[in-house]
């Protein structure tokens, strides 16, 4: 499992408690044949506050399982997950899925206001907040459209606004741009980077697209095939910056591809 050279350990920021920390997490499922299926194996991972962490790996490497564990939707078979004492999973978390991430019986405006509605915010206030988010994600004029009337890209814009409207401390995203075409995907990546820059949200983003993982991340976690293990953690702040060279990007791309292959 040694990945000498690439395994850039995240520098221990002294005194900083990570927002989420996974310690020796194993996850087993009972498969249809009644035999245990191992999804995650000894995963150790720290997600620092305000960071943008992408998890990249082949499909079936337990990436979604990892998100569900962090979201508290699953309990790990063994190992534990530690949250920052100020992180309240019930109020500080949002989760964007690849599909079915909007409520089809609600308009764009009401979908975006949904999280605030659950928190009991008065109607006028939450609609005002939702309208601001509509502007930020560039959906002006579609307030009263239903999800089925939107393109795939617009739907995911709505989903991002819906998630960020509650100002979550932690945002989980499970291949949110997986079904979009390349142009739309690139556009939305930029929207997401800008929105995170202006907020205090930490993002944990799962993708199988290496390009996307590099573009978005401060830090990339590379996962192995089944059972999912952490192969490498790569700090990429420098590569994300505007003045990165194409060579840096390409080198990293090839390294990650060879790791996953």
């Amino acid at each position: 499992m040694s990945t000498s050279g690439l395994d850039t350990q995240y520098p221990s920021q002294t005194g900083q408690i990570p927002l989420v920390q996974l310690i020796g997490v194993h996850q087993q499922f009972l498969s249809h044949h009644g035999r245990d299926f191992e999804a995650l194996q000894d995963v150790c991972l720290a997600i620092p506050a305000h960071s943008f962490v992408t998890i990249v790996g082949a499909s079936g490497s337990g990436k979604t399982t990892l998100l569900n564990l962090v979201a508290g939707l699953l309990q790990p078979t063994s190992g534990r997950i530690q949250y920052h004492p100020k992180l309240n999973l019930k109020t500080d978390l949002a989760y964007v899925f690849q599909h079915y991430t909007l409520l089809p019986w609600r308009t764009v405006l009401k979908n975006i206001a949904f999280g605030l509605e659950l928190r009991g915010m008065p109607r006028q206030q939450r609609f005002a907040a939702a309208r601001q988010w509509i502007e930020r994600v560039g959906l002006q004029g579609f307030e009263n459209a239903y999800p089925h009337e939107l393109s795939g890209g617009m739907r995911q814009r709505t989903a991002i606004a819906q998630a960020l409207a509650i100002q979550p401390k932690l945002l989980l995203m499970d291949e949110p741009f997986g079904s979009l075409d390349d142009n739309t995907r690139t556009e939305l990546q930029q929207v997401l980077i800008q929105l995170q820059a202006g907020s205090k949200t930490t993002i944990l983003f799962v993708t199988h697209n290496i390009d996307e993982a590099i573009t978005l991340a401060d830090r990339i976690v590379v996962f192995s095939k089944t059972p999912g293990r952490v192969l490498a953690q790569i700090q990429t702040d420098s590569i994300k910056s505007e003045n990165r060279t194409d060579k840096e990007f390409t080198d990293l791309f090839i390294k990650i591809r060879n790791l996953i292959a």
């Binding site: 978390l93 989760y95 899925f97 599909h99 089809p104 019986w105 659950l118 795939g152």
Partner: protein, 284 residues
Amino acid sequence: MKQLKNTEKWGQPSRLAGWLLVPLLMLVIWQIAGQHMNKPWLLPTPMRVAEQLCHPTRIHFNSGSLLSNSLISLLRVLLGFSAAAVIGILSGLLLGSFKTLRSLIEPTLEMIRPLCPVVWLPFAIAVFKLKTLPNLFGIRYSHTIFDQVQLGMLFVIFIGGFFPIFTNTLDGVLTVRQNFILLARTLGASKGQIFYKIALPAALPQIVTGLRQGLGMSWFVIMAAEMMVGVQSGIGYLLMYAADNAAMDLVISCMLIIGGVGAAMMFLMRQSLIHHINWKGREF
């Protein structure tokens, strides 16, 4: 998208023909056949039927008019169906939300359900005799249309409407897409919020399907009920009475009214709810 819908509605020649030309053609054939046979007690011409339909308040055989009997049938169905809707939806939601309750009650309901609602008729008549709705509140005779609403009929309409509504509601609640629930849960929804804001709207399309099936069944059952011996009113009764008196123009008028009212009720139900449910099958 809108454009597509419009062309779907009237643009296709086959649709236009289906709604206008084919019925018209059948009317013409019927008219010719009726004139040719010249036996109005067997096959009256459409003109004779139309003449009856144009005089809905004419009293027949001392049994009331087309209109009054239609209203009586409609009232019976609306009352019985409303009871079935309220109790069917509530019990579907309850059983869908509480597993223990479901495992306790569902088997019994599943055993009763295959019984065709019409077979309850003799039983209902034996139990309720000819008691009417006002009798239930201690009024012997209220001198209103409600005196024509027999409890036995309400019971059978209720049975007919209840099962489709209940089954569809239960199924709708049990098959809510997991992602919608997860979405609400991760955004911090309570159990009550998940019920009101996710399960209920997500199940609505199927509840509406249940209501439509239930309404159709209620309208079906009332006709059978009104044809029973001893019944003195209702459009089904008038139909049987007219048949016994060889007034086939009246029989066909009743048939058209029964079909028309049933279709109209379905249409109104669908139109009033379509905006809440037309997302179904188009969610992503």
